[in-house]
């Protein structure tokens, strides 16, 4: 008699067999790209106007915030505006991953109840969508940078490792929140307040070096504080990021990613009976 192709046994807490899981995931990478494509098409990314809106929306937002800073602070300059736009765009990569990720599992109910596949594909796809939305804004940020006459240098190549860290962070957050939302459905309604607070606590409306050290010492618990600070140094000031900043961002990104993935993988077989 032939060997069983698959065996299903009682759910044990803990990770599934990782090699098989990764093989299945790789096998279904087509799903992720197809999902992202349909999702973007649905968000009118396909039309010129849809793409324009994608860029226009954060641009208008940064305009509004610029106005706010100007009115409250009394002064403002080109660097300030450059900082505001670049960091806001990167922030939106993370925030969009969170908003896409939070409902990834709960809205995939139909698929989850009827097909067996690595569930992590759903939050992964949400992050891919967020990345596709981020790319055009990155181009805009660079154009603004040039128009404002801000400096360029080779140090700006640091943007690549920082982006990588940002993507790991986004993945970790999306995976974690999609899983938590299965158990506590009200997380999705709290999320807007969460991202808002994160926005105000991060060096976007202000620059990291401008805040007093008494406040800054608490910023160590903000997972994206130094990520955005490093991004601003590289993309706005064309300087190298600080070692401390990079270390902080890396540790946070990988910690969230590992905790989120562990939490998700050890529970995903339980999702079908909880939806």
């Amino acid at each position: 008699m032939s060997q069983p192709v698959v065996v299903y046994e009682p759910f044990k807490a803990g990770l599934p067999p990782m090699r098989e899981y990764l093989r299945q995931l790789r096998h279904r990478r087509g799903f992720i790209s197809e999902f992202a494509r349909s999702e973007l098409r649905e968000q009118n990314f396909g039309s010129i106007f849809g793409q324009l809106w994608l860029v226009l929306n954060p641009l208008l937002l940064s305009g509004v915030y610029f106005l706010l800073i100007y009115v409250i602070g009394g002064t403002s300059d080109a660097t300030r505006f450059g900082h505001l736009t670049s960091t806001l765009f990167l922030f939106y990569l993370i925030a969009n991953s969170l908003t896409g990720g939070v409902k990834a599992i709960t809205s995939g109910q139909r698929l989850i109840l009827n097909t067996s596949f690595p569930r992590i594909m759903l939050p992964l796809s949400a992050v891919v969508v967020a990345i596709f939305r981020f790319i055009p804004t990155l181009v805009v940020a660079l154009v603004i940078h040039a128009i404002l006459g801000l400096p360029f240098s080779w140090q700006m190549l640091w943007a690549f490792p920082i982006l990588l860290i940002a993507i790991v962070m986004s993945l970790g957050m999306a995976i974690l929140i999609s899983c938590v939302n299965v158990y506590f459905r009200d997380i999705s309604s709290m999320l807007p307040y969460l991202t808002r607070s994160l926005l105000y606590l991060s060096p976007i409306l202000f620059e990291a070096k401008k805040i007093s050290s008494s406040i800054k010492q608490y910023e160590i618990v903000n997972p994206i504080f130094y990520l955005l600070d490093s991004w601003s140094r590289v993309m706005v000031h064309a300087e190298a990021p600080t070692a401390k900043g990079m270390l902080h961002a890396t540790i946070f990104a990988f910690t969230i990613f590992i905790i989120g993935t562990y939490f998700f993988l050890s529970r995903e077989r339980d999702f079908a009976v909880r939806l």
């Binding site: 008699m1 192709v5 299903y8 087509g30 649905e42 809205s107 698929l111 097909t115 690595p118």
Partner: protein, 268 residues
């Protein structure tokens, strides 16, 4: 987890397709409609129990062989769908063991209609990809699926605009065209119109080949008797009887105290 495209083995009639051993399944659900953090915090101080368990399957042992068409009957809530979910690897069992020798596809299982905002076409692709088919395999079969469903232009309309019959048509078409080794149909035909019902019945008969196992869950006893060569009867998670269609159905009807009337026979 099985990918549809992973295994296209030859199976000979009589070789085992699915082996279910002493299977038990218990659902744990929250008492509240939706589990929320707020509700959890509220019940924290009082030590109130916030979950409830449902024993959906109990000590089921069952073998399905290739070449068989197995019918599953039983009243509402008997555990039929639950058994199908365990066999297709969607829900892990609480107890026991299930061995599957081949690729499984459940009807509706390709997750068709997973995102109502997307078109029928996109949903077929996404469902197929999630089930582990490759892009080219779906490309190859898409025409046949669209043809079989007879949806015409509606295939490119968002699925939220579909009637429930259209939904069922597309779902059945996907399952019937994909040709898995083990096909599970869980009463998804009931909303199709008479013509489509007959068409899908004929398709099922075509699919009844020696190298495939069909598992059909239905309340339409006449269809079961017509299509299947073996029937099991589930009641409250227990396996009550197994054997020739006519015998098991008779036993079930005696138990349920329904006569063979028109109302129980009408639907697939």
């Amino acid at each position: 987890m099985i990918s549809l495209s992973d295994f296209n083995h030859e199976h000979s009639r009589g070789s085992i397709a699915v082996s279910v051993q002493d299977l038990g399944l218990t659902y744990t659900t929250s008492i509240e409609k939706k589990p929320t953090l707020k509700a959890r915090l509220k019940s924290l101080g009082r030590g109130k129990k916030h979950t409830r368990t449902v024993k959906a399957l109990n000590a089921i042992t069952l073998d399905v062989h290739y070449g068989t068409v197995l019918g599953i009957i039983g009243s509402n809530g008997a555990g039929k769908s639950s058994l199908m979910r365990v066999i297709s690897g969607i829900v892990p069992p609480t107890k026991g063991r299930v061995e599957v020798y081949g690729s499984v596809s459940t009807l509706l299982a390709l997750g068709v209609g997973f995102n109502p905002a997307m078109t029928g076409r996109e949903n077929v692709y996404l469902g197929g990809l999630a089930a582990g088919m490759s892009q080219s395999e779906i490309d190859e079969k898409f025409e046949a699926i669209a043809d079989f469903s007879e949806l015409g232009e509606a295939i490119d309309a968002p699925m939220r605009t579909y009637s429930s019959g259209m939904f069922a048509r597309l779902a059945f078409s996907v399952a019937a065209i994909v040709e898995p080794d083990i096909l599970i149909v869980d009463e998804a035909l009931s909303t199709g119109d008479a013509k489509f019902k007959e068409k899908s019945l004929n398709r099922m008969k075509e699919l009844r080949t020696a190298d495939r196992a069909l598992i059909l869950v239905s309340h339409a006893l006449a269809t079961i008797e017509d299509l299947c060569n073996e029937v099991i009867w589930l009641n409250q998670g227990q396996l009550m009887a197994r054997g020739k269609p006519a015998d098991v159905i008779a036993e079930y009807q005696k138990f349920m105290n329904v006569r063979k009337s028109a109302s129980s026979d009408e639907d697939v």
